[in-house]
Symmetry: C2
Subunit: 420 residues, 2 copies
């Protein structure tokens, strides 16, 4: 495409991009009369941020706070500030996130960073910032973890990210192509994305009913790349997926797109080895072809063809050696079928069955939302200062559910639901 053709194509997409902004505001963040919205976004995607702002006010928001970030500025900070200084969260940042959460704001996180943007930076540094923030901004953190605040993560194209995905295209065409892909996989390319999400949400219900009614004792994973892993489930575990729900019953979509059903396994009962199916992008770095070996829940060995130090920084965090999530996703999803590697967890995790090291989800255990941290841990829900998803859904992945009486029921056959 010539630059002129790209410009025309992008202009033609403008109304659809507004519909996407409205989808994030109304379905993702459940904004209605009197809501407060907080937008976390890079300065690079200012045009889209302003669309979201307008959509939020049109939906009745009483106030929209924009928290701007800039990956390049962050990089300069990481290059010049030492770990100890970075591990202190400024008092105003704590007040910012906690007070907005306290006031019941919805939090929208727009993801657009260059996957290679922090290459060469000691991964301990961004990890320290995020760990300190998670610990100190407790009202904010708990507000999202315990169903008090609505939150939503969604992607927005920016130049560097688009060029990593489409290295053969010009910058402007790469951005255009990424818009088309994002709208498509987010079920937001049609006439009425909000209705599309109501329909989409219904498909999760069937799968959740199947998994929740079986209450498997454990899941066994096998694929030809060397994965051979058994994951123990908690009594009373709950499979979630699609819309989230706050304690007061507000429906929202924490991830746009989302294709997963997921639960939190027993963090002490994981044994065997699991191999990655897709690269992991974490703290602005890429980890390729990696594996973990677990014994009684703990990561006892791990390796990677590229980026092993990123894994080291993850497992070094409090609770980072234990699983907090296992998620099931058929290989027949728009994301996997797009054939695009997005280099962004939000998208790539929805292309494939995945696991996560770190924090478990209280809502994935009956009564979990009323438990404190110690009680959750006692019930097998990992407590951690991190949560990192990694993709394990090989094309020939098989998964069996093992029931209390030892029966083995096929859940996944060759990377897709057994009944698909």
């Amino acid at each position: 495409m010539t630059d002129q053709e790209v410009k025309i194509a992008l202009d033609a997409l403008s109304d659809q991009i507004d519909k996407y902004a409205e989808l994030l505001v109304k379905k993702g963040c459940a904004i209605s009369e009197g809501s407060q919205l907080v937008i976390n976004a890079s300065i690079e995607i200012a045009d889209f941020v302003r669309r979201v702002q307008r959509a939020a006010y049109a939906a009745g928001a009483e106030f929209v706070t924009v928290i701007w970030g800039d990956q390049e500025s962050s990089r300069i900070m990481y290059e010049n500030v030492d770990l100890a200084r970075l591990s202190k969260t400024p008092s105003w940042k704590i007040e910012q996130l906690n007070s907005l959460a306290e006031q019941g704001a919805a939090f929208l996180f727009l993801s657009s960073d260059d996957p290679n943007g922090l290459k060469g930076i000691d991964p301990e540094k961004p990890a320290a910032v995020s760990r300190a923030r998670n610990l100190e901004c407790d009202v904010f953190r708990n507000g999202m973890d315990f169903g008090k605040n609505v939150w939503c993560i969604a992607g927005v194209p920016a130049a560097e990210w688009a060029k990593v995905i489409f290295p053969e295209l010009s910058e402007s065409e790469a951005i255009y192509r990424l818009w088309v892909a994002i709208l498509d996989v987010a079920h937001a390319s049609g006439e009425d994305p909000q209705s599309a999400w109501e329909t989409h949400n219904a498909t999760f219900e069937k799968t959740k009913r199947f998994m929740n009614s079986h209450q498997f004792k454990e899941l066994r994973y096998e694929s030809s790349n060397g994965t051979n892993l058994t994951i123990g489930m908690n009594p009373g575990h709950l499979w979630e997926g699609g819309a989230g729900k706050t304690q007061d019953g507000t429906l929202f979509f924490p991830n746009i797109p989302t294709e997963e059903v997921f639960t939190t396994p027993n963090y002490r009962k994981v044994n065997g080895t699991v191999h990655s199916a897709l690269p992991l992008i974490h703290a602005g770095q890429i980890v390729k072809n990696f594996w973990f070996t677990f014994k009684d829940g703990e990561v006892v060995d791990y390796g990677a063809e590229q980026g092993k130090d990123v894994l080291t920084s993850i497992v070094s965090q409090k609770g980072g050696k234990y699983l907090g999530e296992c998620a099931l996703i058929s290989k027949n999803t728009p994301i996997r079928q797009s054939g695009i590697l997005f280099y962004d967890t939000l998208y790539d995790e929805n292309a494939s069955c995945h696991l996560a090291l770190g924090m478990g989800f209280p809502e994935c255990l009956k009564g979990g939302l009323e438990m404190n941290s110690d009680e959750l841990l006692a019930h097998g829900v990992n407590q951690s200062t991190t949560h990192v998803d990694f993709m394990i859904g090989a094309d020939d992945l098989n998964i069996w559910g093992i029931s209390d009486d030892g029966k083995e029921i096929p859940i996944f056959v060759n990377g897709q639901w057994a009944w698909e």
Copy 2:
């Protein structure tokens, strides 16, 4: 110039722009080993912000906080949020500015906004935000007003601003021309801008000595556009200009560029009428050909060919009807000689003698830095929630200093110092 020529010219300017960044960091903000810097800037000038960040760390800064703003996002907020809601400063914003001031940070304000960017917005709204912030962020405000914190305002080209100044040029050429103009009038286009500022600062000393030693009782202003104004001085008033000094003796430059010597007059002793010599840009709006009539210090009448409601919003603020500053600037300054109307007070106020409605300067009174607000008021120093400069330096402006014994000494003749 073709786009290609502009690109080459801008590339050639890159090192000079880095020198400008270093000037702001080292001379403007006095950054040295262990300093903290806070940069307030628009997302549009991110490239320059990153240069400042790098220069600050290179000068030994321990931490740089960037507070991003976006005029377009602010506009959307003003369009949708009512005055009462805007009059509340969020608790985290108070904590942000106060805690950083408390820690001794230097504050750099980079000015790049579109002078017309808030056209059509009720000027009461930005005024309310700024009034609330000045009242509630008291540690921050007092830190700058009472010589505890270093601060500096400087300009950086952005597209919309450049296009207002150079409407006949292409966007990229307008930005380039504005860079050339800004570097030039800021004494930052030579080999060593930091030395140039040391030399520049020395020229203020002679003028300040003359004005301070005379201790005039009042100044009388006359020009052919109708200005006929007498301004009473406070006993013990001090003329300032050039470098500022914190209470602990750190030298810094609050304005880059600066050409003015200024003091705070007695806010009760202003009589007569004064006419503007240049437009006033305030809260994103333009006021043209305006005038004020004072009686015993108070604005009793005013008018404007365009933008009178902006004047109304200024004089409606606490202390907004009284003068807080009078500043003397010869018409022979680089800014006036550039012939450019910058549509930005920082530049345009340095093209011309000006006055300011609102807050007076405690450092312009002997012992003023040790006085509280009531004491300052009792000594004739206006107290206000605003401070708005406006330009009155007509080409034929004459100013006389009247001494205690009634002698009239010419200070300005035809818009320049009597001895020039």
